[in-house]
Subunit: 418 residues, 2 copies
């Protein structure tokens, strides 16, 4: 069987399985998720044994320690996969939820009702736990899913795929509702991206290179997230102590993630007091600061920012700092250099808070809170399959609802159109 | 100026105008729409004069009478454009509407708030009234729009574009929030479809050829509608008189539109009584019937359906008819041959109505009502910019809400992530 025919067979089988998934009961889906948690527990040593084959190969291939760390299924990874499955089982089923109902003058009763999207293609890199986490969300939302993890995680993903299919079957659901692409060949990805007849949505997760490759080669709609250049604007009327605490959290707690702060904008009135205080703490935590000309007048010891710093996503302990003359200049900076991801204002001023929230159209806009809250779990979506920075379909963290669409249900008693 | 640089200049100007549109007041947008209605009234003779140039050229080029009819701005077209503008002005502004608000345990207050998509590219064929109708919906929803009508309507669209920009300016809004591509060259379309940096969404309206061209050449997300193969299933427990009335309406009232019935499915128990009655009425209205084997046993005088009839969108006074042994066979037929557009069941049976509505995942699913109700106006969306048969972002008729997305607004008092 060629890779092309294998992939199109998988896609067609997924479409057929998706019809069963769309019609099955919440109980069946939850049973499958809980059974899978049990299967993971009972097969932990088998899973870690297969994972060790991937890890050995990765070591021999000279992959970086960070990549090997992401690839390794530790005991904690096992616990978090099982915990995730139980959490997703406990979430409300989005399918069948009526979003809105209204009556027309002619008596027609119209509703918008959530239905699954159909078949979702997940394309991701090394972490094998994504196989379980993503499958859980896709299945709970009534979709079928085709998973394509990193080639370096092939053995790990295959053993997980077998257990997922077994859990589905034991719950009376189609085994092919979740399938893992069983070959490492990259042409499998390009072929997958051409199955627009069967696949409804592609979600890539990984570095910018992977995402650009997917976008350029896909005939299927893609929900994507390029980068997070997140700003905090400290207003003239900010509570300085609060601003300090939030900036530290947004920059230092986990600098390598997309919702970490990359640029700090400070009102010129707040700068003389706030900047020396926050700089001291940030520097003590190992953050390298790069400032605009005005910042350098207050913090002469830091590096000078260049034009390349403003659109940069460092994902590291580096922070660009700019002093602005007012909030409009801050918002213009965000519009020019931001990535529509996450932007916050720290202020006690009612008008400024309102106007910032109204004007800044990023996927998450915050007042007096850390940018690190742009996360499905933190915002109460239950779990997330990713964060979208494209405005179509979903914007911001994507939970179960974002893996569905709505159909119109129209109930009548003989109405015809005049 | 080359076409490429002209189009990218238009797109960049639209992006910049879209920021002003996103922040402007409802009053300003309504003022612009009402001013435009007045400008159309005051400039009716100029508009019809420019339109006559297009119509003359079309006649000389030998365009079909149907195409010339669509191209002509009659007095009724003028009235309908003006009426449409006043209706859209009267609709609620979707921008700023809070879709949902909730509180997190840590006190964060999270909302999902509607914001405009940004810049919309409309690509359509001959009808110049689409220029005004589509601009009205895009502007009311706070977007900027680039309009690319058929080359045969160039003079008409240009004069309308001038009036739209004047109305915008008189309301204090950016003139370039609505722009018409001023050249007939097709490379303008391909260039437009590459402006992913500036344009957020492409909506093509027209024949399948145009839509396929747009989908294949666009780097920007496309909301599209290929075809409407709409079914009515007449159940064993249908009210025969109601079924007859609804089938007549769905097939005959306007056969050339996407929500007209193309295939009639009849339960074998209803067929012997229902088919002769409905066939008589349909044939009297000029409908040619094409039946399956079992249908032919009841209606021996009609043509025989072939496999090519089941997926056909006739857009004409032709109807495919199939007798099914039960509702499951009807639903399997719809799944195999339907286009996810509009499907209806006629029944008095509670279980069947519920199960049909639950199982059939078309954009509009109806019980005891005509398929012709798949229309934004008819379903109460106020007005529609098109019907989407793709599930991403919007599925079914698209009104003002579908021209927006939501951002998360998070209000806190100093929360940081632990």
């Amino acid at each position: 069987m060629t890779i092309e025919s294998m992939i199109s067979d998988m896609a067609a089988a997924a479409k057929s399985a998706s019809r069963e998934m769309a019609a099955c009961s919440t109980l069946q889906k939850n049973t499958a998720l809980l059974k899978l948690a049990d299967l993971l527990r009972d097969n932990a040593s088998l899973i870690q044994q297969e994972n060790a084959r991937d890890v050995d190969a990765a070591r021999k291939a000279g992959l970086s320690p960070a990549m090997i760390d992401r690839l390794t299924i530790k005991d904690g990874t096992m616990q978090s996969m099982m915990g995730g499955l139980r959490e997703v089982a406990a979430l409300d089923d989005p399918v069948g939820a009526t979003v809105r109902t209204w009556r027309r003058p002619n008596g027609l009763e119209v509703s918008r009702v959530r239905i699954p999207l159909g078949v979702i293609g997940m394309i991701y890199e090394s972490r094998p736990n994504v196989t379980v986490d993503a499958a859980a969300l896709c299945l709970k939302s009534g979709n079928a899913v085709i998973l394509r993890g990193g080639s370096e995680a092939l053995y790990s993903n295959q053993v997980l795929a077998g257990l997922i299919s077994r859990a589905l079957q034991e719950a009376g659901l189609p085994a092919r509702a979740a399938q893992v692409v069983p070959v490492a060949d990259r042409s499998a990805v390009t072929t997958l991206l051409q199955q627009e007849e069967w696949i409804d949505l592609i979600i890539p997760r990984g570095g910018e290179g992977l995402i650009r490759f997917v976008v350029e080669n896909s005939r299927i709609p893609v929900l994507k997230h390029y980068k997070g250049v997140c700003h905090i604007y400290v207003d003239a009327d900010a509570d300085i102590e609060m601003a300090e605490r939030i900036c530290m959290n947004a920059k230092v707690q986990r600098p390598g993630v997309c919702n970490a702060m990359e640029t700090l904008l400070v009102h010129q009135k707040a700068a003389p007091v706030f900047l020396p205080r926050v700089a001291e703490k940030l520097q003590a935590a190992g953050v390298a600061l790069r400032g605009c000309e005005q910042t350098l007048r207050i913090l002469p010891q830091i590096a000078s920012a260049t034009e390349a710093d403003w659109p940069a996503e460092y994902l590291d302990l580096i922070l660009a700092v700019r002093v602005v003359s007012d909030m409009d200049e801050a918002m213009a900076h965000i519009a020019a250099y931001g990535s529509d991801h996450t932007d916050a204002i720290i202020t006690q001023n009612y008008d400024n808070a309102r106007r910032f929230v109204k004007t800044v159209n990023s996927s998450v806009v915050l007042v007096n809170a850390s940018t690190r809250f742009n996360d499905g779990g933190q915002l109460g979506l239950g779990a997330e399959i990713g964060i979208s920075t494209t405005k179509l379909h979903a914007f911001g963290p994507m939970g179960l609802d974002e893996l569905t669409t709505t159909k119109f249900v129209v109930l009548g008693d003989g109405q015809i159109r005049e």
